[in-house]
């Protein structure tokens, strides 16, 4: 749990010790699996297409730490950032919208202007917050939209990740206002434990990430965000302009990834890692081979 608390510190120390060799491309990922798979995909492609070496630093506690490491020059590439990141207090007075294109545009422009990052167009999958209900609730009430939960919300046990309860624009406070409902109890927790709790009937409703393979595994149902509450979290690769200028070939590689993996495909890859226990690197390589990226 120290890792959880001081993860950012540890991550940064790792980065500091790792950097220095300009021939080596530094990639960073968050704690979850989709960026990790993406990191290995990028690593494999760069090492295939160029003579550059790649180093991956995993399990950086949260996206803001990745961004500040890139700003400092300790990281060159964020394997995956999501367009909704733009609302995470990086910019003052930014107008909040749930429109995907608008949000992507804000992210690309904002991060270019402020940090000189290249925020690529979406890889093709999305990993947004979504409200998902357990199989029991589906069987009992068959809700279709989030609004359908309103009559029963005060009976529902709700779980979410460790930051959503406090998130300013798209968190629980805003959610309560927008949907005019609040749950019986709302608990923040580790995402893996959240699914564990669903499985053990300790929770009824959660904020899922749309790529989570457990949603299908546990026969859960994602409810339609009928009031357009959640901002889009379209996945993109992000790189510093510096690394792209030094190694134009890297830019070419990263361009290749635009629009290459949809949500369902990513969910399948995540399942191979999280549920079937395969190594992320192997999964990435196999995927690239199957898709004909590699000979």
């Amino acid at each position: 749990m120290k890792k959880l608390l001081f993860g950012s510190l540890v991550g940064m120390m790792l980065l500091m010790s790792a950097c220095g060799n300009s021939k080596q491309i530094e990639i960073g990922t968050q704690t979850y699996t989709d960026p990790k798979i993406m990191a290995h995909i990028i690593e494999t492609l760069i090492e295939d297409r160029t003579d550059l070496e790649v180093n991956i630093t995993k399990d950086i506690a949260a996206s803001p730490q990745i961004i500040s490491s890139m700003e400092k020059g300790d990281l060159d590439i964020a394997a995956t950032l999501f367009s909704g990141e733009v609302y995470n207090n990086h910019f003052d007075d930014l107008e909040f919208t749930t429109d995907p294109e608008e949000t992507m545009k804000k992210a690309q422009e904002g991060f270019k202007e402020k940090y000189n990052f290249k925020w690529y167009d979406s890889i093709g999958f999305e990993n947004a917050y979504a409200i998902a209900v357990s199989q029991d609730i589906v069987e009992q009430y068959d809700p279709q939209t989030i609004s359908d939960l309103k009559p029963i919300s005060d009976k529902l046990r709700f779980g979410t990740d460790t930051s959503w309860l406090e998130r300013p624009n798209d968190g629980y406070r805003a959610f309560k206002k927008k949907y005019d409902m609040s749950f019986k109890e709302a608990r923040g927790m580790e995402v893996r434990l959240m699914y564990e709790a669903i499985e053990n009937d300790e929770l009824d409703v959660i904020t899922a990430y749309t790529v989570d393979p457990q949603i299908r595994d546990l026969n859960m149902k994602i409810l339609e965000d009928n009031k357009n509450f959640f901002p889009p979290y379209d996945a993109s690769v992000v790189a510093t302009q510096k690394v792209l200028e030094e190694h134009p070939k890297v830019d070419k590689v990263l361009q290749e990834l635009i629009g290459s993996i949809d949500t369902e495909t990513m969910s399948g890859l995540i399942k191979k890692v999280d549920i079937e226990g395969k190594e992320a690197k192997k999964v990435a390589e196999n995927y690239l081979k199957e898709q004909g990226y590699l000979e």
Partner: protein, 213 residues
Amino acid sequence: MELVTEYIQFWQERFSTIMSYFGEHIFISLLSVFLGAIVAIPLGIYLSKTTNNTIQTIIFNVSNIFQTIPTIALLAVMIPLLGIGYTPAITALFLYSLLPILRNTYSGIKSINPEVIESAKGMGYSSLQRLWKIEIRLAFPYIMSGVRVTTVYIISWTTLAAVIGAGGLGGLILSGLGFNDKFYIFTGTFLALILALLTDLTLGKLEKKVAYK
């Protein structure tokens, strides 16, 4: 200056939330250590007295194992048994608190000069009187320092409560990390620090009051 004003404003807006995270943190950490002490102190005394090496080895190893199980794994195992929220969080922290208190109690009692024990026995202290009037008093500084150290680190470890729905200052810190809000991170860390310092200070005073020179 602007930062200070903003921070004050943050406190004003979020005061009741912060206090509820803080309250959860105090409740979880202190209750865990309290339960840990209630179990580990008598157990430590028992271990220091027993001549049964097997029991000693088993108990020390088991409490040692609790220390090494990764938190998330431990909590995941607990969900089917204890659910989510306070119960698994307190249980996990309780298990983590056992070993250091156990160790200190054990070595505290073991550190007592055997001459003193022999003397007390020969003077006609019954075993209970000896335990209460001599051994526990003499081991007290050890036991207290075990409790103090444990309390301080359990206060820091209580941030893990936030990963299993029990809240606490970890909720503030992880939220802050999640959406890049330094006020959250700072407030959570700062309050945990203050709580640790105050508790350590209080226990230190208590120790001085009760312990001999």
